[in-house]
Assembly symmetry: none
Homo-oligomer: 220 residues x 4
């Protein structure tokens, strides 16, 4: 592991503080002063490391995304089959947000709707990250696990949309103290994505009618 310089440490200390502060209030309701206080430095010091409040905000996700990506890739090599991998991905995303609720709040409640952030290099990095979902679904299509006519891109939207919806709800009411954790939804989501909600339709559609005809008496 790379040894960090003092400067880098101070930088991360400020980012950490910003993460905590921005996640509690909004971004616009948080002040540089709040962050400085939380970091134990002066307001001015923050400007030694970041040119503006916004740059500080945009600096928060990078490390988290890298971290999340590393963990996920670590796990996926252990898993075989697109379907199994997909469950692993869903589990990881829910779990990472759950365990890093400050990052989740900033990511889902601040950055997600920030147009400037979308033009950032970090945002591209995030998109790249989510390619892993698309890749997995494509893999499943090729292997015959998944239907041919589904759009991997769209399925990714369903997965991310649902996960984000669940996590935001959780954050909005007393997370992380809340008892019902996001991770608990992993199988509900996975099953629905894979199987849908329709009742075993074949059984209904293809009623089995077996007609037994009396056999002629053999000795006829």
């Amino acid at each position: 592991m790379k040894i960090k310089t003092k400067k880098e440490n101070r930088r991360e200390q400020i980012i950490k503080a910003a993460e905590e502060v921005f996640s509690k209030k909004d971004f616009l309701n948080s002040t540089i002063s709040d962050v400085a206080k939380q970091a134990g430095v002066s307001d001015a010091t923050i400007y030694e490391y970041f040119t503006s409040k916004e740059e500080l905000l945009f600096s928060i996700p990078r490390e988290n995304i890298e971290n999340s990506k590393n963990i996920l890739e670590d796990h996926l090599v252990y898993i075989k089959g697109a379907s199994n991998k997909l469950r692993g991905i869903i589990y990881h995303l829910l779990s990472y947000y759950q365990e890093n609720s400050d990052f989740a709040a900033i990511s889902l409640m601040i950055l997600k709707t920030n147009r400037k952030f979308m033009e950032t290099e970090i945002y591209n990095y995030l998109r790249e990250y989510y390619q892993i979902i698309i890749k997995t679904i494509e893999e499943g299509i090729e292997s015959g696990e998944f239907k041919k006519d589904i759009s991997p891109h769209f399925v990714r939207s369903v997965i991310l949309g649902t996960i984000e919806f669940i996590v935001v709800r959780w954050l909005m009411k007393g997370a992380p103290a809340d008892k019902t954790k996001p991770v608990e939804s992993v199988d509900a989501l996975f099953d629905l994505i894979v199987d849908g909600i329709k009742l075993e339709n074949n059984l209904r559609d293809f009623k089995c009618r077996i007609i037994l005809e009396p056999q002629d008496a053999p000795g006829k």
Copy 2:
């Protein structure tokens, strides 16, 4: 139809202006002056109709929700079967956001993460509105259209999560000018929810094993 007083008209005019302004910038980056200018009144006039900037914000969704609810209910009476209704609901939600993109932006990018709004009466009204999804799914379970072991509440999260995800993406890049409209996702979402992504799952899962046992000779 009820005739609106001058005062009500002016009120709606301001709400409309606020809707346009807040949806372009954030709430916090929008100013009362911006809204006043857009509405063609003075700053002070806004305070004749709303006690604070926040109250103005919270006043935006009411009419939209009522409107959306009315339209949806109108349509649903024409549709039979939980599955068909579900598609109608998905279609309507995507379509209403698409046709009212300012409201969509405010609803999904501002109010959704506003804790104070969640304590509002209007928010309760919204939750009530979404009960219709849950009711429909329950109906489908009872009628045998949907599986017994799914959670209607969770399915609602998938539907709303996906829809909101799609709409936010659309809003974030030049909507409503964007060529790919949210509504186009209606069948992808409906099919996925209903059928899942797994290939012909029933045919694989329920292998048919027919055992014919020799009948005892009748004349035994």
Copy 3:
């Protein structure tokens, strides 16, 4: 008694309302709206009767002063002797403030320190009113009841100063609900003004020394 026109009644109704409102908050913290609400008229109506908020304020004392003056004069004719009259005056001033605490608040806490009010005709009328104290003291000096070397003007300051101090204290803490009423101070004030606080001063100051010299015998 003069019959009041509708207009005059409305005017007085507004003044009464203003008295109540201004006495509760300050003048500057009270709004025309508050007064209008209290009076049961619209804001605009107030401007039909008064050209400005300040004119409304300055209109409050007139009637009170006239009223107070009339009552006092009524009583004084029944009293003989400067000293007795003085006690009557003190009693009346304390009592009038006590019974008209809204007027007291406006008079002592708003108008007293308002430079513009001092240039008002009404203020002159008030000064004139207080001449009665000075007159009474002069009368006492002439009659030999009071010392020759006291300044009537100054004694008036002591009387008014003390009364106003007591009334303001009373107003500042929950008057008129407060149990200790201003009027209860009447004799303490009167006695102090008349007698001072020094113990039996004359008996100590004027020691009597009588020297008798023996007379020469006449028949010497």
Copy 4:
């Protein structure tokens, strides 16, 4: 003497400016901008030292009260006898207001009728200060200088009421330019308090009649 930090100096500079500004207009008619201009700093700077306009107002009296108290105590140790001390107190109060007319204006015309100020710690300190009057009168009663049946608390009201009345009058007309200074009233007030206004009554009540009879001529 304690060396003041830069910050303390700046604080005092602002308080001084506020004292000058608030004493000229009212509190509510004075603006933070006025104070800032007078202090030679920006509006925002004031908020680095005081959390609100009101806190700034309430910060004005503290130093003055401390100062006034110190001076008075300094002098009182040189004076013997309750009566003499009382005169010293009256002299000092008149004199301190006279020499610090801005403070006098704020104290007597703004704070005196401010209910919130009455709940302040500083206000309690002020009440404590005025205990010295009560103590002195009690001392006089015990020593036999003053009557037994007077209320020290009430006498304090007469003294403060008169002083405040006189000072306010002085402030209301062109103080401190005015030629008649508050201090000039010291003996009038002292004498009245001590002796009252009644003509030396003993001399009237006990008329001395000395009759000299002509002596018979010795050589008759």
